[in-house]
């Protein structure tokens, strides 16, 4: 859920708190776990895993959580859509017990064997169809009786009975409607009331300012989070999406710094003894990536993929933004915590609002980024093509593999090549055409550091394409993609490297040498802005030709630079972010070089360019 959805919601009248209605039910479900938790280790298994069986919670119950990006289904895409018939009782009304159970059954039948095992209930389970919330007597969210007539635990039970895992949702902070004049007691915290857990000035927090910010200086605040966590553990939930978290969720500043909330949730979940996957949302601040990694199992890197329109998503709103968003986060993900690109709505073309090509590209990007793979589609209405995408085991294996998250190996134009090196020496290579017309896209083996022949496996079309020398070029439809495993035939590409900071180079404008721990030689050239230029001199090659030149650079945000050799005009090339100003990444550019000495220039033009560490020029072309 995102901020912009809120203006569409009915206003909640002040003081209309409803925290009594569900009290009986809530008390009833605090009984012991009816269904045992699945062992964390089993979550690591890809396609073909069996249903989780009973296992006792370990001392550190979260230690194995999210060893691989999770897979499953989420309710939000359909809740958010105006697609005919989905939300007959008002906005977001899709979320009901009946629908969740229906999707659970479809997931179990169709997708579970491929690794999809989470059924995640998103926002609104404690709100009626006018979005009026309900709470128990301890200020904890309580299920809406119309949406979930049997309460939340039986739903989780049903999900577990199908061999699946159950997920639930909360906004961060104390929801304003739960405050109850500060007099609402906190469960299992004698002496604590809601007045004790927030700041006296009732400062608000989260992406919608819908909650009071919790004040963890008062131990009662942790107790409140503990009470929510225990409730979910008692109900048997295995996953929590904590939404509206900042810095992020389009908010910054002290009031919206929810690092302490996430840490509190981490602690609270551990205290329950139940391994509950903690996913945080949305548009999280990359500057706090270490915090997110420490306390959560995944973070939404950007805004919602949903369009809040007549389909679930559209290409432009906002699926295609993810290509630009993802690179900054590539080094942040790993076992225990993953970059969440949001729902994967590729299962039904008409409902998704995407072309076949767009659906394939969507899943390709998610897979190579090792994003969680959870679809928001109506699993009872998957079309044949959607099933073929969601169940392609070779592509799922890319997502679930141990390889590093892929990065672009070319600049970020309409045509892009991304890739990563796999443990067995092969490469996962994705071609993308983000343009509105068909286009050819070439992956040059030199971008990956090898040359000569390589065998190519086409993962989407499930066929071996044979051997390709030096590169593969394919025609891609508008917004299309290809996904390959490329196995080099043997030769490593010999290159000559030239350091940006070399005294042989010519710096102009404000360009200057700066220290850089991660850079080769310990230095880079920065301050390439507003006309600043770096010209490498004496780039020497034996033969005229067009060379794939690797550029090692540092750029805490996406920046463009015009690159040219000799007297060329060059092209303005958008370099993807390296995530911060201390990390070096590389992209490759094509440049003509003549036999003998050449110059290669990085010109910031009228903008701000990345810092340059060095370039590597193949000794042969």
């Amino acid at each position: 859920m995102r901020s912009s959805s809120y203006p569409a919601l009915p206003a909640v009248p002040a003081g209309s708190l409803s925290r009594t209605a569900r009290a009986t039910l809530v008390l009833a479900v605090t009984a012991a776990l009816a269904t045992a938790v699945p062992a964390a280790a089993t979550q690591a298994e890809a396609a073909g895993k069996t249903a989780a069986t009973a296992a006792a919670p370990t001392a550190d119950a979260t230690s194995g959580t999210a060893a691989k990006p999770y897979m499953g289904w989420s309710s939000w895409s359909m809740q958010s859509s105006k697609y005919p018939g989905l939300n007959p009782d008002g906005d977001y009304s899709y979320l009901t017990q009946a629908n969740v159970l229906k999707q659970t059954d479809a997931l179990a039948t169709k997708l579970k064997k491929y690794g999809y095992d989470y059924v995640n209930i998103d926002a609104g389970w404690w709100r009626d169809n006018t979005w009026k919330p309900e709470y128990d007597q301890y200020g904890r969210q309580a299920p809406d009786p119309l949406r979930f007539p049997d309460g939340m635990k039986p739903v989780a039970d049903h999900i577990h009975a199908k061999g699946l895992k159950a997920g639930i949702y909360l906004p961060v902070g104390l929801e304003k409607e739960a405050y109850g004049d500060g007099k609402v007691p906190v469960w299992n915290a004698p002496g604590c009331t809601t007045a004790d857990i927030v700041y006296p000035d009732l400062r608000t927090t989260n992406g919608w300012d819908s909650s009071y910010k919790l004040d963890f200086d008062n131990p009662c605040a942790q107790k409140y989070v503990d009470s929510q966590a225990q409730m979910f553990a008692d109900w048997g939930y295995d996953f929590l999406k904590l939404d509206g978290v900042g810095p992020g969720s389009f908010k910054s500043g002290d009031n919206y710094d929810n690092v302490a909330d996430v840490a509190a949730w981490h602690q609270a979940i551990a205290a329950t003894g139940r391994p509950i996957h903690l996913e945080i949302s949305w548009s999280l601040d990359i500057g706090h990536a270490a915090d997110w990694k420490q306390y959560s199992n995944g973070w939404r890197i950007e805004t919602d993929v949903e369009c809040y329109c007549n389909t679930l998503v559209t290409w432009e709103n906002s699926v295609n933004d993810r290509w630009n968003d993802a690179p900054a986060w590539s080094h942040k993900a790993g076992p225990g915590g993953w970059n969440d690109l949001d729902s994967l709505d590729v299962g039904n073309g008409a409902m998704d609002g995407l072309t076949k090509a767009e659906r394939q590209s969507y899943m390709t990007l998610w897979a190579i980024n090792k994003s969680p793979l959870y679809t928001g589609d109506d699993l009872t209405r998957l079309d044949g093509y959607g099933v073929s995408l969601l169940t392609n085991q070779e592509v799922i294996a890319v997502d679930q593999s141990d390889s590093p998250v892929a990065r672009p190996v070319t600049p970020m134009g309409d045509q892009q090549v991304w890739g990563t090196r796999n443990a067995d020496g092969s490469y996962t290579v994705a071609l993308f055409n983000l343009g509105d017309s068909p286009a050819s896209v070439s992956a040059d083996w030199a971008s990956f550091g090898f040359a000569g022949n390589a065998s190519v496996r086409d993962l989407w079309n499930k066929q071996n394409l044979g051997t390709y020398k030096n590169r593969i070029t394919e025609a891609l439809p508008a917004h299309g993609s290809r996904l390959f495993t490329v196995r080099p035939g043997g030769t490593t590409l010999a290159t000559t490297s030239y350091e940006a900071e070399s005294a042989a180079n010519t710096l102009s404008g404000n360009a200057s040498v700066a220290g850089c721990d991660a850079c080769s030689g310990g230095n880079k050239v920065g301050n390439l802005y507003l006309g600043g230029k770096l010209q490498f001199n004496h780039i020497t090659v034996q033969k005229d030709g067009i060379y794939t030149v690797k550029v090692a650079y540092v750029s805490g945000d996406p920046r463009s630079v015009t690159v040219f050799s000799n007297t060329g005009n060059g092209t303005s090339l958008p370099f993807p972010s390296t995530g911060d100003w201390g990390t070096v990444d590389t992209v490759s550019v094509q440049l003509a070089l003549k036999a003998g000495s050449n110059t290669i220039t990085f010109d910031s033009g009228s903008g701000y360019a990345p810092d340059i560490d060095r370039i590597s020029v193949p000794q042969t072309n």
């Binding site: 076949k356 090509a357 394939q360 509105d436 017309s437 068909p438 286009a439 050819s440 086409d458 989407w460 079309n461 066929q463 394409l465 070029t473 394919e474 025609a475 891609l476 439809p477 508008a478 299309g480 290809r482 005229d544 030709g545 067009i546 040219f564 050799s565 000799n566 007297t567 060329g568 005009n569 060059g570 092209t571 094509q590 440049l591 003509a592 003549k594 072309n621």
Partner: protein, 804 residues
């Protein structure tokens, strides 16, 4: 230099002598203008394969590794045409799309009711517009681009052939598309190797709301008519040696076909004859289209292909060009990558640059034979509302289109232009006499006299003008018409167009007015100047004696003198006109700007870097201003200064014109830079070359328009850099840039005075040159500082070696 040998006329590779493969061509290009769409005689079928070997075809092959987008056909569609029908082809495996245009499918009419300002209406209903005839789609749903490998499509310039190939699951699928002039149809031929088959649908849809219906003989067709009464129609049929082909309502279904041939044709009842209201009453276009596709479908696809290539190839082969060898790395790139790399790296790509010229020739052969001439886009549209109606702009654009024909060995393609002017002449004359002196027309003759004819800035094919009057437009058109005679020395042709030239002269006799100027010496002098006019398309709207008109009239009167002498006609009148010519005011250099004056004013009354080079007509295409002793130095300097001020950074045709002028000034590097400028890849509608090499003019941020003139003007500039000629004088390599200097050759270049030149060079110096007379007798050949007078009989050749 030494004259090595003179070949006998028996050996002559004459101007049209290459046409042995296509005996049927001669009749089709006969002078006089046949109806555009008419029943044609059975084509002559070649008895031997006229196909080039793959290696030979590769020399003139453009190729791409992705299909075009149905939403960007103008930039990405590959053009085919048979001189009348033009189509852009998308080449998507799953959905082949052709947007088909007939050059005569014009709305509008005579448009001879002026607006209150004495100028012409310029709308799609009154003036009219070229429009699209049909969209043909061949859907093959199983061939989704996302699942094909090794996709490639190509445009074979030498054989007039679009091809695409790709692999799916071990099967290689190929298609060829060509527009045949002999069969007057467009053919799509789908084949495969490896056991594949085609299943899908052929749909032919009109673009003006027509319904397509079943016709006899497994055809689908439609017909319709415009508000102006123009009838049109189109038809398609499909066949296969295997599988099933059925006509189902308005479309044709096919399944399990190992091969598939689709044949489409269409046209209108337009006729280039004002006497019949520009209609051919006997033609039923829909019926005729059905007949044509059925006739063609009676032959195998390979017979149709061979017939087409036998017709197309000889024309293309009339000019060969080698500007040097590109690198292996450049050759690995497809055409679009190469265009991008050329700009990115600023490394010359001589083969690409030569291919750009040959692409222009390909377009001319495909777009200008036996029907109307090519306007702003030729017969290649992607919708019914081309910018500026896709019309004939007479203040540079149509002139530039046809500068290339004779220069680049395509004299035959000029006929469409000449025939058009001839067919329009009665209407232009009538409109001029009735309307030009309308009291509100700011360009009217202040004397009140009127004679001859002129045109508006825009013209249509119904005798109508659009936008504003263009008094000097007649002389501009006549300049092209007369140059064609200079190239061909074809007396019958001159006879034919003589009424156009004489009528233009008569117009100016009535229009010129007298004024007194002060010479440099301070002496007053009475001169003749043009009445109120607009120097295209800038500055004052009513300036007298604008350089543009003065230069054009000076040229017109000179050409009239030559024409009367060649034809032995109007001797007395010619002397009178000579007298007027001697009194014509000619521009001086402004003491203020140092530029050749555009208006009779020392001040710059327009935009310094304006796109038009109207006041430089005397430099190009005229010959009055030359970088030799014949031109006063101040005039040459003033022209050079004006050209310099106009700048190097314009777009398409404006760059081409600049390049032509710099070539005339023998500034090879500037001329080359402007050619290269037009090869800059167009991105999001920016100025430059689109993926399909169509020239794009950016009208606003994010929106570019295809204007074909640069695709012809730029090749003309390349030719002018290699060969300059005027009657009696040929200069070889007048402006050879360093990028092409290492070695190269060209053959088939038209030479004014009635010759065709072939030459080779090495290290910037001519090594061998052959001149063949196509009617010329004597000329002086200049190369490398040496000059030599040659004399030939028509049909004879002379080869020269050892240049200074």
């Amino acid at each position: 230099m030494d004259i090595q040998d003179t070949e006998s006329r028996d050996n002559r590779p004459g101007r049209r002598g290459f046409l042995t493969l296509a005996a049927a061509v001669g009749a089709a290009t006969a002078l006089g203008g046949l109806p555009a769409f008419t029943a044609s005689a059975a084509p002559l079928r070649p008895t031997e394969s006229p196909m080039l070997t793959a290696a030979d075809a590769a020399k003139n092959l453009l190729w791409w590794q992705a299909p075009g987008s149905s939403g960007s056909m103008i930039e990405q569609g590959l053009p085919v045409g048979n001189g009348r029908l033009g189509a852009l082809t998308g080449n998507d495996p799953a959905s082949e799309l052709l947007t088909i245009t007939d050059a005569t499918l014009w709305t509008g009419g005579p448009n001879d009711t002026l607006q209150s300002d004495g100028q012409f209406p310029y709308g799609r209903d009154d003036f009219g517009s070229l429009t699209l005839l049909a969209e043909l789609t061949v859907d093959i749903p199983d061939h989704d681009l996302g699942s094909v490998n090794n996709y490639r499509r190509s445009l074979d310039l030498a054989q007039g052939l679009v091809s695409a190939s790709y692999d799916i699951s071990g099967v290689t699928y190929r298609r060829q598309i060509f527009a045949s002039r002999p069969d007057d149809v467009i053919v799509l031929h789908f084949t495969q190797q490896g056991g594949g088959a085609y299943t899908g649908t052929v749909s032919l849809a009109g673009t003006h709301g027509e319904s397509t219906t079943v016709s006899a003989g497994r055809c689908a067709s439609f017909g319709g008519s415009f508000a102006n009464g123009l009838k049109y129609g189109a038809a398609v049929t499909a066949s296969s040696s295997t599988g099933k082909v059925t006509v189902d309502g308005g479309s044709i279904s096919f399944s399990g076909c190992r091969d598939l041939t689709v044949v489409v044709s269409g046209g209108t009842d337009y006729a280039p004859d004002p006497a019949t209201g520009f209609r051919s009453p006997s033609v039923d276009p829909q019926h005729l289209a059905v007949t044509k596709v059925r006739n063609a479908a009676g032959h195998s696809a390979s017979t149709l292909l061979h017939t087409h290539v036998a017709d197309f190839r000889p024309l293309f082969a009339q000019l060969e060009l080698d500007l040097g060898t590109s690198s292996a790395a450049q050759r690995e790139l497809d055409t679009w990558e190469r265009v991008q790399a050329r700009y990115r790296d600023d490394v010359p790509d001589p083969e690409l640059e030569a291919a750009y010229l040959q692409f222009g020739r390909y377009l001319m052969i495909s777009g200008s034979r036996g029907s109307l001439p090519m306007g702003l886009q030729g017969p290649w549209l992607d919708g019914n509302d081309p910018d500026w109606m896709g019309d004939y702009h007479t203040d540079i654009n149509i002139q530039m289109n046809y500068w290339m024909a004779d220069r680049a060995g395509l004299s035959e393609c000029f006929d469409a232009f000449a025939d058009y002017c001839l067919a329009q002449l009665p209407s232009w004359t009538d409109a001029t006499r009735r309307l030009f002196n309308s009291p509100t027309n700011r360009y009217r003759n202040s004397s009140g006299r009127i004679a001859g004819w002129t045109v508006a800035i825009s013209t249509n094919p119904y005798g109508g003008g659009g936008w504003w009057w263009h008094p000097a437009g007649n002389a501009w058109l006549c300049h092209n018409l007369f140059e064609h005679y200079e190239y061909t020395q074809d007396r019958a042709y001159l006879e034919k167009v003589y009424p156009l030239i004489k009528g233009a002269v008569q117009f100016w006799e009535a229009r010129l007015i007298t004024t007194t100027v002060t010479d440099a010496s301070g002496a007053p002098r009475e001169v003749l100047i043009a009445d109120s006019d607009w120097s295209p398309e800038q500055g004052p709207l009513d300036a007298k004696g604008i350089t543009y008109a003065q230069e054009l009239v000076w040229s017109l009167f000179g050409n009239y003198r030559t024409a009367t002498r060649v034809l032995g006609r109007d001797a007395d009148h010619s002397r009178t006109v000579d007298g007027l010519r001697e009194r014509l005011y000619l521009p001086v250099v402004s003491p203020t700007t140092g530029w050749l004056e555009e208006w009779m004013s020392p001040d710059n009354l327009g935009e310094t870097t304006h796109r038009h080079l109207s006041p430089l007509f005397g430099l190009f295409p005229g010959d009055r201003i030359r970088p030799d002793a014949s031109t006063p130095k101040d005039i040459l300097d003033g022209a050079t200064a004006l050209l310099t001020a106009r700048g190097m950074d314009s777009f398409g045709w404006a760059n081409a014109w600049r390049s032509l002028c710099w070539a005339r000034l023998k500034d090879a590097e500037k001329a080359y830079q402007l050619v290269v400028h037009n090869l800059k890849p167009s991105v999001d509608g920016s100025n430059g070359s689109a993926m399909n090499l169509f020239d794009i003019y950016q009208v606003e941020q994010g929106r570019g328009i295809f204007q074909i003139d640069a695709n012809f003007g730029t090749p003309s500039a390349v030719i002018e850099m290699l060969v300059y000629s005027r009657p009696g004088h040929v200069e070889l390599l007048p402006a050879l840039p360093t990028a092409w200097a290492a070695s190269g050759s060209v053959s088939g270049v038209g030479v004014r005075g009635g010759f065709v030149a072939a030459l080779s060079w090495k290290n910037g110096k001519v090594t061998r040159a052959t001149l063949t007379s196509v009617g010329g007798r004597t000329t002086t050949v200049v190369a490398g500082g040496a000059s030599q007078q040659i004399s030939l009989q028509p049909g004879e050749s002379v080869t020269l070696r050892s240049f200074g």
